[in-house]
Subunit: 144 residues, 4 copies
């Protein structure tokens, strides 16, 4: 259903990332943003909401950072390597922290298990892109 | 890849919408938010950017309203029918306006054609949900 | 500190709203978005978090809708009257609902009192703009 | 008008930053998010929009990252030092890049001059907070 890849394939400019990796990271960011919003909401409805405070905060932070990162990655006109790198690092940290917190509650709350999965997938897709970027930079340095 | 339906299926509360329709609308909102961000970026890279001003503005407005609506729909704890209705109406309007504008450029710019498709799909999924809500209200009135 | 008015005064185009009302509504939306995020967080930290579920949901919905509305209002290039109207209506509803809920807790939680004030101010500024828009339309109809 | 400081003063928990610095950074993030949205829109309306592509992209990226950072800073319940640090670094980079780009156009476009000012102010407020955080960590290490 997602159109991220189709949008990259019809973009008028070239971009520094393999389209497959870029589309995967963009989709993972938007999916994680949604999943974390839903997990915060589901946690709020649980009887033991007092023990889910940290989980709700992690969810909300992760969702906001994922929306911002997904949008930064969606903009490839006059792309800025350093902003992208910082955004990816920030996103990976938020996703890993949220996944770790969600995993603590995954046995009792299935929504936390689903959310941890979405966070791990997003962290992996963003790490892949960060690796691509470093490789690109290295190869530019070596070619120069 | 999207986890919207899995999150609804593991939510501790009941909700007033059929889960299938609700998941479809949530996913469509987040997909449309991404597609519109990408379309604004692709338009900005086109040679005839002067003739795409309205398209870029529509894209940006639609993307912001879709993120907000997708998140409101993702929150089913202490759900507020009137806020949901207003958010859906606002989203449908933004999607239809953006689809109409994108369709004007669809022949020359394939990203506009893809974006129009995502906007139409989002407007349709939100309209479906708005119908569900009105039916729910009517049935509550008649049952009462 | 806010730059909304300075940005309107340096914008290359004319716009349909009095700059004073428009700047007031834009600033109120961004302020309310921040205040509601902070109120949701403060509620989450309270001992009686179980009784603040509805307040947290209202805060989060209001914050998201205020960001979207504040951004739509900040875009005056190829302005769309109907999108603006729908966004304002949606924002007013979210602000009023959040203010009402916060007021229920205002005696016990001072952050809820502050948040209710920010929500009421935002609803008032958006209503003023909605009135301006209706007057503009009427005067266009009568002039035509 | 902004309520960031009042919200911090009524928050039930202690937090690791001086309230004055924290409130200043939060307000600067939300102000910068608004200003950048408005600058992107004003650039789009300029006759020489072709030469403002990079400026529009920087504005949009900076606005999204500022919203996310302003919200992360607004959440002090179960605060995560590393996420805050990464978000601040990402925000500072986006603000500096946007200020530099806007300054290139500041002579011809006054909105770019205003936006550069808002970006510099936000970068400074976030840097102050990053220094506070590092000092806090050092003092915790030395105290231990």
């Amino acid at each position: 259903m997602a159109h991220a890849r189709a949008m990259l394939d019809t973009h008028p400019r070239e971009f520094g990332f393999p389209a497959e990796d870029l589309a995967a990271a963009i989709e993972a960011c938007f999916d994680c943003a949604q999943t974390c919003t839903a997990c915060a909401d589901a946690c709020l409805a649980e009887e033991d909401v007092e023990s889910l405070r940290r989980c709700i905060t992690s969810d909300l932070n992760c969702s906001d950072i994922c929306v911002a990162t997904g949008r930064v990655l969606s903009r490839q006109t006059d792309y800025d390597a350093l902003i992208t790198q910082r955004a990816l690092e920030s996103c990976i940290r938020a996703c890993v922290a949220c996944a770790e917190e969600c995993e603590r509650h995954a046995e009792h709350h299935r929504h936390c298990a689903v959310c941890a999965e979405a966070c791990r997938a997003c962290a992996a897709a963003c790490s892949e892109l960060l690796d691509d970027e470093v490789e690109e930079e290295l190869s530019a340095l070596q070619g120069g």
